[in-house]
């Protein structure tokens, strides 16, 4: 049983590591704090895994646990400016240096703007960016699909406006 759980955890870690890392980066701009948060998320998943009965998809389960951990992290941490990180981007070998610099700026602006969104909007937009469907987002957040739609519209509007300010 313990061996099965351990194998399941290893698989989840391999499969969702990048997504969880992006999630942590959207709550913490300082690299050390981001790693701590990532550790907290992974720990929460490890602890919650024995209780996972398959009543939702594994992806929904992982994002639920991770988002909840991020929320308690933010509440515990209190208010702090959440901009200006130096997370590296994947170098795009197809484009030239200028195009790459522009892409990096755009990605940085997106990260900064997402960090400035209110938590409710940030959650819904992050899940959408990770390609979760509206029913899956509703499952993670424990709200109706209609509510997801409303939040999503507001979140996009807020994000658009923040990105315009950045531009």
């Amino acid at each position: 049983m313990a061996g099965e759980l351990s194998a399941q955890y290893e698989r989840i870690f391999a499969e969702y590591r990048a997504a969880l890392d992006r999630l942590a980066a959207s709550y913490e701009s300082v690299p050390q704090a981001r790693e701590d948060l990532m550790q907290e998320i992974l720990l929460a998943i490890w602890k919650a895994l024995p209780r996972f009965r398959g009543d939702c998809s594994e992806r929904t389960f992982v994002f639920r646990v991770a988002h909840n951990r991020c929320l308690s992290h933010v509440w515990r941490r209190g208010k702090r400016p959440e901009t200006g990180d130096e997370a590296p981007d994947v170098p795009d070998t197809r484009s030239g240096p200028e195009a790459q610099a522009a892409e990096n700026r755009r990605r940085q602006a997106l990260r900064d703007a997402i960090r400035q969104l209110p938590l409710n909007y940030r959650q819904v937009i992050l899940l959408a960016l990770e390609d979760l469907s509206p029913p899956e987002i509703a499952g993670v957040l424990g709200v109706t699909e209609n509510n997801v739609g409303v939040r999503m519209n507001r979140a996009r509007k807020a994000l658009r406006s923040l990105l315009e300010k950045h531009a």
Partner: protein, 188 residues
């Protein structure tokens, strides 16, 4: 630009981020945390048992009304506190709904439980002081009839109570802030 295209572009930028190079040794952390929790629980139990056993031993050695009352007060307050802790923690262990909404509700219940615990703690400090200070004054007046000893005894008791009250105040402030954050999140 249509909305789907806008979201697709954001998504593309979002997914292009590179994961950090952090090294995560979760199993070691889990083991450490489990040991810490077990130690903390064992320490609490041990402390309660020591307190109860010591009071019994003390009364056994000095079978007077004064010490019998003292032991009774210690046993009573320990039992009442244990009952309160059990009652107060009901419904704060796990949430039925694992979603964010369920988690927020659980976090709120935990916050309220802590605030109740703080209120209880303050009352306990007040009741303890109401018993300890007059008793110490009376006891010192009989055993060590000097103003210095009296002030030292009462001063220590009041000092301890003060430390507890300051701790409770800091803890309460933190919890109220957390509750405020939870409300802000729910009302968005």
């Amino acid at each position: 630009m249509n909305l789907d295209q806008e979201l697709a572009e954001w998504r593309q930028d979002w997914l292009a981020q590179e994961p950090s190079a952090g090294h995560f040794e979760i199993r070691r952390i889990v083991d450490r945390q489990r040991r810490r929790m077990a130690l903390s629980l064992a320490w609490r139990l041990l402390w309660t048992l020591i307190l109860l056993a010591f009071s019994v031993w003390w009364v056994w050695q000095r079978w007077t009304l004064e010490w019998i009352v003292w032991a009774a007060v210690i046993w009573m307050s320990t039992l009442v506190t244990t009952a309160f802790v059990i009652w107060n923690s009901a419904g704060t262990w796990t949430s039925l709904d694992q979603s964010t909404a369920g988690f927020v509700e659980l976090a709120r219940r935990r916050c309220l439980a802590v605030l109740r615990e703080i209120r209880y703690g303050r009352w306990m400090v007040a009741v303890s002081m109401a018993i300890v200070v007059p008793w110490l004054t009376w006891d010192f007046a009989i055993r060590f009839p000097s103003l210095k000893a009296l002030l030292l005894g009462d001063g220590l008791a009041v000092g301890f109570a003060g430390i507890y009250l300051i701790g409770f105040a800091v803890w309460r402030r933190r919890k109220l802030k957390e509750l405020e954050e939870l409300d802000r999140f729910t009302n968005l």
